[in-house]
């Protein structure tokens, strides 16, 4: 059973098929993700991360389309055109931080978008403060712990304030306080009603705490539409 597309639908996958070698690793007939928080659940190899990569325009589609507000984001070879990808931010399961300081790492997406230094500072500083990274701003990104690296990767994506935010196993390595901060930020963003937040996670409690819609995946297929867990 799939969720029907409603008026508020923002991100949609239509007849998306992804093939690696001879094997179809993802086959999604229809998946509509409205503004709000969605959690993709499923065992390893279910296709959660692949859904995120497809939505981000970073994996070749053998067939189908990814749509945002009805316009095509990605429909073929990766990477999707840059102006479409800039509407989306993705945090990888195992993020890579470019060499440089934490501040430079967080600012990198803004620099790519040619945002001026004053505005970069205005947007980055409060986020560093909130994520408990301010004291690390001048530290080299390669000297960080796993949890700190994860928070920097999150800050990189959050600071872009993109229409679609894709997070892969985002709570791994985070302590409880950091996890709660992240949950608060995501709920605030979702409350704005303009952002689609999609999280691939094994953390069964996360969906409940985020009051998210849960989409179960298995064998590269979506098993059910966004149900809310009590």
């Amino acid at each position: 059973m799939q969720q029907a597309a409603g008026n508020g639908t923002m991100l949609s996958l239509r007849d998306v098929r992804i093939v690696r070698g001879e094997r179809t690793v993802l086959s999604v007939e229809k998946l509509d993700l409205a503004a709000g928080i969605h959690v993709l659940e499923g065992p390893n190899g279910a296709g959660k991360s692949t859904v995120l990569l497809a939505a981000a325009g970073l994996v070749d589609l053998a067939a189908g389309q990814v749509l945002l507000d009805g316009t095509v984001l990605h429909d073929g070879m990766a990477p999707a055109p840059v102006e479409r990808r800039r509407r989306i931010a993705l945090v990888f399961q195992d993020p890579y931080l470019m060499s440089g300081t934490v501040r430079e790492a967080v600012e990198i997406g803004l620099k790519i978008r040619r945002v001026g230094s004053q505005e970069r500072r205005t947007r980055v500083d409060p986020l560093l403060e909130r994520l408990g990274l301010k004291h690390l701003a001048s530290k080299r990104s390669t000297k960080l712990s796993g949890g700190e690296r994860r928070k920097v990767a999150l800050a990189q994506a959050l600071v872009l304030d993109s229409q679609v935010l894709l997070l892969d196993e985002v709570t791994v390595n985070l302590d409880e306080a950091s996890k709660q901060t992240l949950i608060d930020i995501l709920r605030e963003r979702a409350g704005g009603g303009h952002q689609v937040i999609v999280i691939a996670s094994h953390d069964s409690e996360l969906a409940h705490r985020l009051d998210a819609r849960v989409h179960r995946l298995a064998g590269g297929r979506v098993l059910d539409d966004g149900v809310r867990r009590p």
């Binding site: 981000a56 970073l58 990808r85 931010a89 990888f92 890579y96 470019m98 790519i112 080299r140």
Partner: protein, 231 residues
């Protein structure tokens, strides 16, 4: 004879004998310019080949790797054919000039720098490019980021390319002509002076060749070490 040659060689070096330092200057100028020109073409090409997947890519990489063993005299011969008076580029009138040596050495260095760049980019972390793309970078910016994150390996590629051209003799002899004070460099100088029986001068030039090669490699090694410590 060797010890006497060494003693005289150091005397010539320390007295800044122009017979020694003239060829050293030519070698440094020609090889540095050739390495830089080769890098400008070979590094972007190597990054593209290293990051792309297309039909025939393996063949291109195999050809590049084969060209690492390209005989210097063969490159000299090919360029000679092009720029000699009767060649298609004879009107340029550049045979037996430093420009001709630079062209030949650039051709010689390019496959090495390109092959090393391909190898380093292929071995680089695939997350670098994906991260940049996910942050909104275009393909070129993402590729530049891959190159920058692999700058230590690219510096080693440059050092290898420089080492290749700085120590070669075939191109310099065929295209430069070993003209004293103009195109005579360290290697052609060693060959010429030793042939004349000026063993000490040959040793002096050989010493500088060795010292410069060592200095370049130590500089790259130190730079990588400092980079590693900063990280």
């Amino acid at each position: 004879m060797i010890l006497e040659g060494l003693r005289r060689a150091f005397e010539m070096l320390l007295s800044f004998d122009p017979q020694v330092w003239g060829p050293v200057r030519v070698s440094l100028e020609v090889s540095c310019v050739a390495t830089l020109l080769a890098a400008v073409a070979a590094i972007p090409l190597g990054v593209v080949i290293g990051l792309s997947r297309f039909a025939g890519r393996r063949i291109i990489v195999s050809v590049l790797n084969t060209m690492l063993a390209l005989p210097t005299v063969l490159v000299g011969l090919l360029v000679y054919g092009l720029i000699s008076r009767s060649g298609p580029l004879g009107a340029w009138d550049i045979l037996y000039t430093p420009t001709a040596m630079i062209i030949g050495q650039t051709i010689l260095a390019m496959p090495m720098i390109c092959a090393f760049t391909v190898a380093s980019v292929e071995r680089s972390d695939p997350r670098i490019r994906l991260s940049m793309l996910s942050l909104g970078a275009g393909r070129i910016k993402a590729s530049v980021a891959v190159a920058l994150e692999n700058r230590a390996a690219l510096a080693a590629a440059l050092a290898a390319g420089f080492g290749r051209v700085f120590s070669e003799v075939g191109v310099a002899m065929m295209l430069g002509g070993n003209i004293r004070g103009y195109t005579r460099n360290i290697t052609t100088g060693i060959a010429f002076e030793t042939g004349k029986g000026e063993f000490a001068l040959g040793v002096a030039l050989g010493t500088v060749l060795l010292v410069v090669a060592l200095a370049v490699n130590f500089a790259v090694g130190y730079w990588n070490y400092r980079g590693g410590r900063r990280q």
